[in-house]
Amino acid sequence: MMVWLDLFINGICLGGLYGVLGVGLALVTGVMRFINISHGEFIVLAAFVGVFASAALPGVNPLWLLIPVAALFFLVGYGVQALLFNKVVTAPDFLAPILLTFGFSIVLQNLMFEVFGTNVRSLTAGGLARQSIEIGKLSIGVLPLITLGLAILFFVALQLLISRTGFGRAIRATADNRDVARLMGVKPTRMFNITMGLALSLAAVAGLLLAMRATFTPFSGLASLLVAFEVIVIGGFGSFWGALLGGFLLGLAQLIGLHFDPDAGIFYVHVAFFAVVLFRPQGLMGIRLP
């Protein structure tokens, strides 16, 4: 029984992180109808920035790096969208964004390989990584708990931003009908720039938190992208809370799978994904289309 509770809590904590991984991608897909294949590479790039910043600032808890790195990646997202991605966002050919971002992901990957090498790296969270809270016989890691707390914080913040602010309304209007939004005075490309900025700052947060719990190389982006996609497909496209729920499900699947089959890696994540797609193709929170 204790084992199950332990698995459940840790699965949820990991799942929160997977949710953050997915929600940035979900935001971009929902607002722009644009699939960013290079999302995973940005996650890895943020992790590298974290590793080097952490090395340059010994004694600073890497959790504090979340704020400046997220801010930096907001600018990166804004810039990449403005200079590059906006050129294909309105392309009549749906392949154009996929080809562009796929190519961009390869460029990023090889740049990181060239600059950082293939060494396996990770971000050490100092003493925090070993601390845990004891509740009865249960031992819960402090870092996973902080991760979960941050994930929920980001989900709530994003939800409020999108549903309650004028900016969020303009984003939703743009997602609904670009031309009608323009008639109201909204400049879609500006909305896209900000959206990509938000998405990549979420990716950066996910990248740093991932690097604190697992190792990575310049080629880890694909695995992250895959998980991110699975999260939003499971959640139901365009549903933020669905993405969090999807993250929880995948986190649970991974840890429960690992418990019974220690060599499985993230195999059971894909099994869970497959099961959802098979039995509930519209996603957990998605609306069944007629």
Binding site: N177, M184, G185
Partner: protein, 232 residues
């Protein structure tokens, strides 16, 4: 004073030309009707003026500025609002959010949320509902209200009676005097010739992308009009 002066406007969809050398002008405070059969180019004209169509030639002067090359969002900030054909409300937003979205430019003026609800009492208590629960007429009221929220100097209304019962259309057109009273100029696109003539000061008739008749609405003769409309 001329608020809108369009001269020699030609619009293209790829290799196809949809409008040929159109000239239309709207005085400040005037209501102008654009009539014509399906495919005459009325909607194309409105979209081109509002900046949604970029493949065009000719001059468009709005409020003394040449706006022919401006993007739609920039023209919106200058005080032009379009009620699009088919209403096109934001389906994922409440009625009230749709109206607030109309005021995105932040242009100040007579029209506020409360004033829109006064103008259309039947949507006044329904701000929290989603557009799809409204009747077609109520949706049209929201679409007009959304455009008014921008406090426009020129309102472009595309086929606002489309698909609505005549009694509902009457109700909607009853709001026009209140809109005009604020000095707003209006261009309406309307299939129904009699109604168009009744609410407008000046009428243009389009046929296959060309202006075939233009004149003061009350002076239009039936024969000339039917000739211009059908090209017979």
């Amino acid at each position: 004073m001329k608020l809108l002066e369009v001269t020699g406007l030609s619009v293209f969809y790829g290799d196809l030309q949809a409008l040929f050398d159109i000239g239309v002008s709207v005085e400040s405070g005037q209501t102008v009707a654009l009539i014509g059969a399906n495919g005459a180019g009325k909607t194309t004209f409105l979209k081109a003026v509002a900046g949604l169509l970029t493949s065009k030639r000719g001059n468009i002067v709005f409020d003394r500025q040449k706006i022919g090359g401006y993007a739609a969002e920039r023209i919106a900030h200058l005080g032009m609002a379009l009620v699009p054909e088919g209403r096109l409300l934001f389906q994922n937003m409440t009625i009230e959010e749709n109206l607030i979205m109309g005021g995105y430019t932040g242009r100040k003026g007579y029209w506020t949320l409360a004033k829109i609800y006064d103008l259309f009492p039947s949507i006044a208590s329904r701000g929290r509902e989603m557009p799809f629960v409204l009747s077609g007429g109520e949706q049209q009221m929201v679409a007009i209200g959304r455009a008014l929220m921008a406090n426009p100097r020129l309102l472009l209304a595309d086929e606002i009676s489309q698909g609505l019962a005549p009694v509902v259309v009457d109700q909607i057109y009853k709001s026009f005097p209140a809109i005009r009273a604020e000095g707003t100029s209006i261009i309406i696109v309307e299939q129904e010739v009699k109604r168009a003539a009744a609410v407008s000061d000046y009428t243009y008739c389009l046929l296959k992308g060309r202006v075939t008749l233009a004149g003061r609405s009350e002076a239009l003769g039936f024969d000339a009009l039917s000739h211009a409309y059908f090209g017979t």
